[in-house]
């Protein structure tokens, strides 16, 4: 059972106030766009230079990094966890299964803001960029998510 004391609104507010270039990706971003898919985790793509700022922002939520910032930079990802589980991708760029190189800085530059609450915005990739991130691992579940996102893209 997941913890119920986690203040998600304060979590996103703290990340926004930290100045860290952090994009919500994965299914949580799909949920913010209006797709009712299930996920238990939080996935972020964080700028590689903003690890310390991000970690400081989420420390009050008892979220502790699995690796030092230096190790995370070397490996390209790390995890923050307690009752919640936060996957953090920190690679400068990631190739898709079909050979497209996707740069964090480019995705960040094209980002969109979604209204989380009255005074809290969350940064997520555009739908096209979210589809690209789903092509990093390209699991069966990602293919289904890509179809959902393509359907949503056709709406706009």
């Amino acid at each position: 059972m997941r913890g119920t004391r986690f203040d998600e609104e304060a979590f996103f507010r703290a990340i926004g106030a930290s100045g860290a270039r952090a994009l919500v990706i994965g299914r949580r971003a799909m949920v913010f766009l209006g797709l009712p898919v299930l996920t238990a985790d939080y996935d972020f793509w964080l700028h590689i230079d903003d690890i310390d700022a991000f970690n400081r922002a989420v420390e009050p939520f008892d979220l502790h990094p699995s690796r030092t910032a230096e190790e995370a930079r070397r490996r390209g990802r790390y995890v923050l966890a307690n009752d919640e589980h936060v996957d953090v991708l920190v690679a400068r760029s990631v190739p898709t299964v079909d050979g497209v190189t996707v740069s964090m800085e480019d995705v960040w530059a094209r980002r969109q803001q979604v209204r989380y609450a009255d005074d809290v915005q969350v940064a997520i990739p555009t739908i096209d960029d979210l589809i690209l991130t789903k092509r990093f691992a390209a699991r069966a579940k990602d293919l289904q998510d890509i179809r959902f996102l393509e359907s949503l893209r056709d709406e706009t």
Binding site: F32, P36, L38, T39, V97, V114, V122, A138, L152
Partner: protein, 79 residues
Amino acid sequence: MTEQFVPPTADTIRRLREEYERPLTPEEYRAQSAIPLSAEEIEETLELVRWFRARYPTGAERSAYVREAIARWSRRPVG
């Protein structure tokens, strides 16, 4: 007469999860992604999206719905 629901075994769930989360090869990805979206599939997705957005207008409400759904599913019995 309706049949009683028999929950899947833990082993079945594990095998399904493994297959669902297995990275595809580039060839598998190309073959799967070449299947076009049908107008019906798009409309079904958009209908769901319209309901979800109307019922849960903010990101906070949408995320709370998902957290509650996950909690409900985690309480379901497994055979």
